[in-house]
């Protein structure tokens, strides 16, 4: 038997083409208009589209370096997690009462499962010959509704999340050397500072205190008058202790 450019096989066990679907793509001559050879004409045009896309992609990559938070610390239970943006709608769904707590399985399993299952079975539910969206109102309406829901949930999740706090809680903190037995550290640990700023100044509810570039006077001012979420008058030591504390914190600028 003979195939391709003229190869001869001795005893060919392959299934013959006769009586089967021809191993060739459909002919488009039945459609009106101009067809074009895939190789190489159309493929070169596709590559141009790819090149334009790649430029945008690379600009994005260079303009926004990919984020990296500090190393995972399983003991930090105050951390509020967020998934990557394309899972935000599911994250938001789980905040609603009908989909959380005892109903968690509704939001976590049943609704996403139904959505994926329905998506997979679309060809068997929408079996008419019509292809135009306007000619098959139900599938079109359901898809638009799904799209609107995903968009709305993602939107809600973004506007209700404190992105600045999220950036702060995950920021990489430089480690500094300090003397735990120094007078400054004793005052720091004895006052309420350590609760929010952490035992090695890594921050937590409060900002990290490492390398913040503040001078002694600025530190004293913040300790007395507060700043941002920190309310005034949290420090109850004497003026001498305040002086020692501020100098100690300043010494963390390394």
């Amino acid at each position: 038997m003979q195939r391709g450019k003229g190869m001869k096989f001795v005893g060919d066990s392959r299934i013959k083409a006769e009586g089967r679907m021809v191993n060739m793509p459909k002919d488009y001559s039945e459609y009106p208009g101009k067809t074009e050879a895939f190789w190489p004409n159309f493929l070169l045009k596709e590559w141009m589209v790819g090149a334009v896309f790649l430029i945008g992609y690379l600009i994005l990559t260079v303009a926004h370096p990919s984020p990296l938070e500090r190393q995972a610390d399983p003991t930090d239970t105050a951390y509020i997690p967020v998934p990557d943006w394309y899972f935000l709608f599911m994250y938001q769904l789980l905040k609603y009462e009908f989909a959380s707590g005892p109903w968690n399985v509704v939001g976590a399993i049943i609704m996403p499962g139904l959505a994926i299952g329905a998506l997979m079975l679309v060809p068997f539910m929408d079996t008419t010959k019509e292809r135009r969206p306007s000619k098959r109102p139900l599938p079109t309406a359901f898809m638009l509704l799904a799209f609107a829901s995903i968009f709305y949930l993602t939107w809600e999740s973004v506007v209700n999340h404190d992105w600045e706090a999220a950036a702060r809680q995950g920021a990489i903190v430089e480690e500094v050397e300090f003397d735990e037995n120094s007078e400054g550290y004793q005052i720091y640990a004895g006052a309420s500072c350590i609760g929010c700023h952490g035992d090695s100044f890594q921050g937590g509810l409060g900002d990290p205190l490492v390398n913040n570039g503040l001078t002694v006077d600025e530190i004293k001012d913040i300790v007395i008058n507060g700043r941002g979420d920190m309310s005034p008058g949290l420090f109850d030591g004497s003026d001498e202790e305040l002086e020692v504390l501020a100098e100690f914190i300043e010494s963390l600028n390394q």
Binding site: Y31, E46, T61, L68, R70, Q71, D84, F147
Partner: protein
């Protein structure tokens, strides 16, 4: 010269039909943006594949530095990001590519849906496409843990809890993914690495092959 090499191989392996299947076909006017600009919507699938190829290549280079253990994972990513020449670019492309692949795939799904291209005889290809979508989401989920930073750890904790809330087999799924029914740690990281780098890409390549073979068998759906 090239023709002679081709003929030499073809004489032995009969590659002409393979070549014909892959490249020798006509592209109809209604999907060609050179004829109708609005046909750019037919590019979304190809661009999804393009980003997928970039993901595979950049991922291969990332594994040359990445270490999947809890002591060194974060440090290796930090080193890759800040010290390695062009490491920031390679990691950046992998990071943003993960988002782009979701976006392009979503747009491709909408195109196929609204042009009704999933209808007979293309039902099977639609199902394979949905499976590709799920695989991609799995790749996104498992890849998110690998840098082993705060957001990775705690987002994965939530994700594992959700997987654990599946009725009846939740606990088994949780143990399969995390390696333990309570702790999310060293075992979880190696498992997610294996799933992200071996299991899901293998599944993805198989599904993509099926997707493309079916397209070549059936051709692109006609104009609306």
């Amino acid at each position: 010269m090239l023709n002679k090499i081709y003929d030499w191989v073809d004489e032995r392996l009969d590659i002409t039909p393979i070549w014909r299947d892959i490249a020798d076909h006509e592209v109809p006017e209604h999907v060609n943006p050179a004829h109708h600009f609005s046909a750019f919507i037919y590019c979304f699938g190809g661009l999804t594949f393009f980003v997928t190829v970039i993901q595979i290549l950049s991922g291969m280079f990332l594994t040359m530095y990445y270490t999947p253990d809890i002591e060194n994972a974060w440090k290796s990513v930090y080193y890759l990001q800040n010290e390695v020449a062009f490491g920031e670019i390679v990691r950046g492309m992998h990071h943003w590519g993960a988002s782009l692949v979701i976006v392009m795939m979503f747009l491709h799904t909408l195109r196929v849906f609204f042009t009704g291209s999933y209808k007979k005889p293309r039902e099977l290809n639609w199902i394979v496409g949905v499976l590709i979508f799920v695989t991609m989401l799995g790749l996104g989920f498992t890849g998110y843990l690998l840098p082993w930073d705060m957001k990775a750890l705690f987002a994965t904790k939530v994700g594992i809890e959700i997987a654990g809330s599946v009725p009846f087999i939740g606990d088994q799924i949780k143990i399969l993914l995390a390696g333990d029914d309570v702790i999310l740690g060293a075992q979880t990281l190696t498992r997610f690495f294996a799933i992200h780098v071996f299991f899901l890409p293998a599944a993805l390549l198989g599904l993509l092959a099926a997707h493309f073979i079916m397209i070549r068998r059936q051709g692109i759906s006609g104009p609306l």
